[in-house]
């Protein structure tokens, strides 16, 4: 009897020890909380990442930005406007419900409601048709060469669960709380344990996950904590209370590198930061009564471009955590052309000459609209640019504002009330078409919402229309090249750089983690010691 007891005790100890060894809790932090868990409500970076941990998509975007099967096992083009997807069998949602074609059709209907912020991802889709329980056809309005690129942001929800909780309608900030925004039921590798807003969000591996046998991570639990204050976030990492945090303030990168237990992971982000000019008003807002708008002259735009010392900004303001760029899209975006990424050289004397040629030997006044809480060191970059432009004679009045005021001033709500502005852009579809539509063309629905200087070139317009439907990849790339070249020769904008991501990681607890260039933590790739 005593022996049995002893054995049991030993077993208990062994089990406990195994339990301790097995328990891998990954604690990570970033500046703010997710906006909600409803996959179809919000379109915001950190929120989308969290949705990706919880919800499955037909296709998943891998760390290198290529696509891999998720809920679809194979897909083929039936004709120019029809794609057929075979769905994975035997997949279950977190609550145990089975996944089938009805869920895909339902999710399409839910995500394309006008109040859904994710509807843009399916804007070209006419219909999703169920063929049988495990096959669907996606029919597009016209030929859509980049439909597949949007599939990783088409989130699949459970029809029965959503209907049972009366959560079909995506409501925002009026009426009742949307059940799906504070609960989650997906097919993703993790399931929701608890969400206390602004305090913690706890996930555990999904025991029903279809690809459980092949997961890369070894977590038993993940705890996400928003920590707003930069210094506190760094301190929490240094003290070992969290295993990973981002962003690392640029001034703390060295500190984390020098600590034996931490490391700063850096890499380029997909967002391109650029400057833009008012190219449409006949009279500049800053030169009332003169009837002149210098920025309508290409030579003036070129002069401003060449007056900016991008290397100084990279070295001094960004502490080398930036990749200067000559294009409006980053490496990794579909359509990026490496050989076109060069920049016109920094040349203040040439800039002065160009201004003189254009008839402004003594310069002219501009107001420079710049956000101060949106991008890495946004205000500092603008502050550095001011004297560079003053040096060639342009008199700059900086106007630094919080993002919620800045975007309205330069954007449509105030009818592009700006002469010269800063903006950053990541194409939601990871394809060149999106910036062509949103930043470089205008005048049609879905075009030019952020073409704040109203850059307008008829040939770029024409090319953009063709790029929308060109199914031949070679021809499409040639068109993208032509459009980008025209924009570049026009000095339509001044691309500055892709800012760097900086993550702080504990070396003693985290074995490996993959930093995707969209600055998010995909828990699929976290391996702990």
């Amino acid at each position: 009897m005593r022996n049995v007891f002893k054995k049991l005790l030993l077993m208990g100890v062994a089990l406990t020890l195994a339990g301790i060894a097995e328990a891998k809790t990954f604690r990570y932090a970033t500046t703010g909380d997710v906006l909600g868990l409803d996959p179809h409500t919000n379109n915001e970076g950190p929120t989308n990442t969290m949705k990706g941990n919880l919800y499955g998509r037909l296709l998943h975007r891998k760390a290198d930005l290529s696509l891999e099967p998720d809920l679809a096992t194979k897909w083929e083009k039936l004709d120019a406007t029809t794609w057929r997807f075979s769905l994975r069998q035997g997949v279950k949602f977190h609550n145990g419900n089975a996944f089938n074609a009805d869920d895909v059709v339902f999710s399409y209907n839910r995500q394309t409601q006008e109040s859904s912020d994710m509807s843009f991802a399916l804007a070209t889709v006419k219909e999703v048709r169920k063929v049988d329980d495990h096959t669907v056809d996606i029919i597009t309005k016209g030929p859509d060469p980049i439909l597949l690129l949007n599939m990783p942001i088409f989130y699949i929800v459970d029809k029965e669960w959503t209907e049972a909780n009366n959560a079909f309608e995506v409501v925002r900030a009026s009426g009742s709380t949307n059940f799906a925004n504070v609960n989650a039921n997906g097919t993703g590798p993790f399931k929701l344990v608890e969400w206390v807003q602004d305090t913690r969000l706890i996930l555990e591996p999904n025991p029903n996950y279809w690809n459980k046998a092949n997961v890369q991570h070894n977590l038993t639990r993940a705890v996400f904590t928003p920590i707003a204050n930069d210094a506190t976030r760094v301190a929490a990492l240094l003290s070992g209370e969290i295993d990973l945090m981002y962003p690392v303030p640029l001034q703390d990168v060295n500190r984390l590198e020098n600590d034996p237990n931490t490391l700063a992971m850096q890499g380029p982000e997909l967002r391109t930061i650029f400057l833009g000019f008012d190219q449409w008003r006949d009279e500049s807002l800053d030169m009332p009564g003169t009837g002149k708008n210098p920025f309508k002259d290409k030579r003036v735009r070129q002069a401003v471009f060449q007056a900016i010392n991008i290397d100084a900004i990279k070295r001094v303001v960004m502490r080398n955590a930036a990749a200067p760029t000559g294009l409006m899209i980053a490496p990794g975006i579909n359509g990026f052309q490496d050989d076109m990424n060069d920049r016109a050289p920094y040349d203040p004397d040439g800039a002065k000459k160009l201004l003189a040629e254009a008839g402004y030997p003594d310069g002219f006044p501009i107001t420079f609209d710049c956000p101060n809480d949106r991008y890495v060191n946004d205000e500092k970059i603008c502050t550095a640019i001011v004297p560079m432009l003053e040096r060639v004679g342009i008199k700059v009045t900086p106007n630094f504002q919080t993002k919620s005021k800045h975007f309205n001033k330069i954007g449509l709500p105030e009818k592009n009330n700006t002469t010269f502005f800063m903006l950053g852009w990541t194409p939601g579809s990871y394809d060149a078409l999106n910036p062509l539509m949103q930043l470089m063309t205008m005048g049609k629905p879905g075009h030019g919402d952020y073409n704040c200087g109203q850059y307008n070139n008829p040939r770029v317009d024409e090319l953009t229309e063709m790029i929308k439907t060109e199914m031949d990849e070679g021809k499409r790339t040639a068109m993208i090249r032509e459009a980008f070249q025209i924009h570049k020769d026009d000095f339509g904008h001044i691309p500055l750089h892709q800012q760097a991501l900086a993550w702080g990681v504990r070396k003693d607890t985290v074995k490996s983690v993959i930093q995707r260039p969209f600055n998010d933590v995909d828990l699929r790739y976290v391996v702990m010691n």
Binding site: G32, L35, G36, T41, N42, N43, E44, E114, S115, D117, S119, F120, A121, V171, R172, A173, S174, G175, T177, N178, N181, V182, V196, Q197, D198, T199, R200, T225, P226, I227, A228, N229, A231, T232, A235, A236, L238, S239, G240, E241, D373, T402, K403, S404, K405, F407, N408, G411, L412, P413, W425, T426, G428, N434, Q438, P445, G446, D449, Y450
Partner: protein, 328 residues
């Protein structure tokens, strides 16, 4: 007395109305919440639809009237950020702030009052000088520096205390408390010291100055002449007579502790009202901002009422006055 209290509560309504009116006027300058609510790919029509649905196209006086109308019906609105009712959000956050403020206020009083009495009585002792020097730090260093210093020393170097958050919380259903667990107390220590330091210094210096003043008066001399013991003189006669200004200041300070724990809460990621309002401002979450300000206005009035009532207890002359004249 009852009439007095009712009168004060009516005043509270007026104060709350004016605060929300002024805040609605100011919200016009905070920015547009729509940009924070939708992503970059939302179309102009979607933005307009949302703006219309939230009533942001109405002129602000109309927005204000609608807001007051809803409050009268007990509706505080939905937070723009996650879409949950504002009263739920505030009810979630209030316990964290109240507990933090309570501990800080107690710390400030329990340490500040004895220190003040001691430095008032022993003006020239080295300990008094030490206290005064330390208190200078409390007055002159900004809260966030103190907080970050504490985090660096006790969180990062010594690793005795957690650097952020409110751990060990026990949910009682209607209230969440960190008083019941060791972890809870551990995470309370640094934020409450950070928040208390300024109040502590203020109380100590105030009591010291008042004590020095009172100790010079005739009735203290007479008390001593009557042969009373030092303890009775110092605490019964002197300290009690210093308390009216101290209560006033402490009351006001507790109000500002509640209202302005923003910095401490941000530094320690303490999930209370201060953090909530900061995030609401960044997001331009108008329903949260306005309800918060109204609530704070109410708390200020309430605290002032309690302070007024305490005067009655401390100062017998007021009681006589009010008995003579009825409630004032």
């Amino acid at each position: 007395m009852l009439a007095f209290i009712i009168q004060r509560l009516l005043q509270a309504v007026v104060v709350m109305l004016s605060v929300s009116f002024v805040s609605f006027a100011l919200f016009q300058f905070v920015g547009d919440p729509i940009n924070n609510m939708v992503g970059q790919d939302a179309t102009a029509e979607q933005r307009e639809l949302l703006r219309e649905r939230l009533g942001l196209n109405d002129p602000w006086p109309l927005q204000f009237v609608k807001y007051v109308g809803n409050i009268v019906q007990g509706e505080f609105g939905m937070s723009y950020r996650v879409g949950v009712p504002v009263e739920d959000l505030i009810a979630d956050r209030l316990p964290a702030t109240i507990e933090l403020v309570l501990v800080s206020a107690l710390l400030a009083l329990l340490i500040g009052v004895p220190m003040g009495v001691y430095t008032g009585l022993n003006r020239n002792s080295w300990l008094s000088r030490l206290f005064l020097t330390i208190s200078l730090i409390g007055i002159s260093l900004p809260t966030f520096v103190i907080g970050i210093l504490l985090i660096l020393i006790f969180g990062v170097w010594l690793q005795w205390l957690p650097t952020f958050g409110r751990a060990g919380v026990v949910d009682l259903g209607w209230w969440t408390t960190s008083f019941l667990t060791l972890d809870g107390w551990r995470s309370l220590i640094m934020p409450s010291i950070t928040l208390a330091l300024f109040q502590l210094t203020l109380i100590m210096r105030l009591i010291r100055a008042e004590m020095l003043e009172v100790l010079r008066t005739d009735y203290i001399k007479f008390a001593r002449a009557r042969g009373l013991r030092n303890r009775a003189v110092h605490f019964r006669h002197a300290l009690k007579n210093t308390l009216v200004p101290v209560i006033t200041i402490t009351g006001l300070q507790i109000g500002s502790l509640l209202a302005f724990s923003i910095i401490t809460e941000t530094v320690f990621q303490w999930p209370g009202m201060g953090l909530l309002i900061l995030q609401a401002i960044q997001f331009v979450d108008i329903p949260v901002m306005s309800s918060y300000l109204v609530l704070i206005a109410f708390l200020f009035v309430l605290i002032n009422l309690i302070v007024d009532l305490l005067y009655f207890i401390v100062d017998p002359r007021l009681r006589l006055d009010s008995l003579g004249r009825g409630a004032h």
